[in-house]
């Protein structure tokens, strides 16, 4: 059951990511990204992080991706045109990405026997103990992030405002 769900939503994730890669129009890649994020939310549920799944849906697909979609719609830049791109990106980049993938998968698979496994209800983090840690041990970082958000808002407003 767990494996089936994992395979479905894992596949959905990878499909969405590839779609992001292959689509020419940014709106399509944005929507495929939303699919990736919601399937990730489900994966979080499988791993027992339910509040996080909800947060992922609300914050990522519900807010950030809306921002992206808005910007794409407003700027309406249309399809990507074929520009020369940079040789270095391909020569250096792809081997790098491939190496990255290769190394990580090699490590994870080699160590997989040490890694243990994930059962459906194996480790459930309720919102209460999540919030207990967040608001008692890590209160200061929490407040700092709120300041960060404030700064980000001001920055965004200042940047995006039309010069009058």
């Amino acid at each position: 059951m767990h494996l089936v769900l994992f395979l479905i939503f894992g596949g959905l994730c990878v499909a969405g990511a590839l779609n992001l890669l292959l689509q020419r129009h940014p709106i399509n890649s944005a929507l495929s990204l939303i699919v990736v994020m919601t399937s990730l939310a489900v994966l979080y549920l499988l791993l027992g992080a339910e509040f996080l799944a909800a947060a992922q849906v609300i914050v990522y697909s519900g807010a950030i991706m809306v921002l992206f979609t808005f910007v794409i719609m407003l700027l309406n830049a249309g399809k990507e045109e074929r520009t020369h791109g940079s040789k270095a990106a391909y020569i250096v980049g792809f081997p790098g990405a491939a190496a990255l993938l290769g190394i990580l998968t090699y490590i994870f698979l080699k160590q997989s026997d040490h890694l243990g496994s994930a059962k459906l209800g194996g480790y459930l983090v309720t919102t209460s103990d999540l919030s207990r840690v967040l608001f008692r041990d890590l209160l200061l970082p929490f407040e700092v992030t709120s300041v960060l958000i404030l700064v980000a808002i001001l920055g965004a407003v200042a940047l995006a405002r039309r010069e009058h």
Binding site: M1, I27, N28, L31, I34, T38, E50, F51, A53, A54, A55, V57, I58, S61, G62, A63, V66, T69, F70, M73, L74, T126, T127
Partner: protein
């Protein structure tokens, strides 16, 4: 009581089917109810021709919309044009799954009156409403029409800003219930009837009103229905839609209304608990006892729908900047104040 997977699946499918049919029926008849009520408010009879007192009017509307020619304007961004209404309708319908209709009655280990019992039920509802924005945004953008784009942008902006107020207004209720699981929230309110409801006993009266206003804005209804206001932006984001896709948007809107009223009843009006608490004698068999809470729940939801239509008939429409200012400068601070008040009250009571 370990339930085998197959039974669980079968029963779940059965439940989903039942709930969906009922919801769609409810949507249809809410449309009728609205047209009849608005008619009466405007001193005219509503639809009365089709069947006794216009009872078959929804069927007629559905049939009409279904058979209408599905116009597709030319350089419309086809894939999204088709996807948008689907997103809107699915989001509206999914949130019903989390709503508990009645008491926890297990039949072969499966809870009868709730499709999915999640201990973050409330968050799921919030998440799904935030996903709903895409339906409107994409509809407006893909129909390649300046008015629809403007309507979509305004609609989604309104949705996002009021989502904040909606979320914060619920915090008070959650604090009182101590859990996000909808059933716990209702059980907290069901102790002694009317008095323990959040609206009255839980002192969430202000929160209730903030929730109500935010909900109206979420569903683009009543005073906040600027995006699809006929007078300025023709039909807002779904101007280019016709027949079936238009019907989907229409149904999505009413489904959202129903969901919102269900949530309102659950959180503020004690869900399926009777106003008289357990004063009434428990007459009738187990079936009657099982169905009585459902009856109460439906009664309250009907009351909210009535309220919706009533407000739509009476209040004038907000201008866009008034709407935004009201949302951000009035509702949001009020919601935060409410949270602080409830937390102080709870702390005081706990001490």
């Amino acid at each position: 009581m370990e339930v085998s997977i197959w039974i669980f699946l079968l029963l779940s499918v059965l439940k989903v089917a039942v709930v969906t049919v009922i919801t769609l029926m409810a949507v249809a008849y809410t449309v009728l109810l609205e047209r009849k009520l608005v008619g009466r408010i405007q001193n005219r009879w509503g639809p009365s021709r089709v069947g006794p007192f216009g009872m078959w009017q929804p069927m007629a509307d559905g049939l009409k919309l279904f058979l209408k020619e599905d116009l597709m304007p030319t350089n419309v961004y086809k894939p999204l044009y088709i996807l948008a209404p689907l997103i809107a309708l699915t989001c509206a319908l999914i949130s019903i799954s989390v709503v508990p209709f009645g008491k926890e009655i297990y039949y072969k280990g499966v809870d009868l009156f709730q499709i999915a019992d999640l201990n973050i039920g409330l968050l799921v509802i919030l998440g799904i409403t935030s996903i709903g924005v895409y339906g409107i945004a994409l509809a407006g953008w893909s129909s390649n029409n300046k008015y629809s784009l403007m309507g979509a942008l305004r609609g989604s902006a309104q949705l996002i800003s009021y989502e904040l107020a909606l979320g914060l207004s619920l915090v008070g209720v959650v604090m009182r219930a101590g859990s996000l699981r909808l059933r716990d929230i209702v059980n907290i309110q069901a102790t002694h009837g009317l008095l323990s409801w959040n609206v009255f006993g839980g002192l969430q009266f202000v929160a209730f009103f903030i929730y109500l206003m935010a909900a109206y804005a979420e569903t683009n209804r009543a005073p906040f229905d600027l995006p699809e206001a006929e007078s300025e932006l023709t039909a807002g984001y779904h101007t280019e839609y016709s027949s079936m896709k238009f019907a989907m948007f229409f149904m999505a809107e009413y489904a959202n209304m129903i969901t919102v009223s269900c949530v309102a009843t659950l959180l503020f009006f004690g869900g399926w608990s009777s106003p008289f608490g357990d004063l009434l004698p428990a007459w009738g068999g187990p079936v009657v006892q099982a169905l009585l809470p459902v009856f109460w729940f439906v009664l309250k939801v009907f009351f909210f729908l009535f309220l919706y239509i009533w407000v739509r008939g009476t209040l004038p429409r907000f201008r866009y900047d008034q709407l935004m200012r009201f949302g951000w400068k009035f509702l949001l601070p009020l919601a935060i104040a409410n949270i602080i008040a409830t937390s102080l009250w709870l702390a005081f009571r706990a001490a």
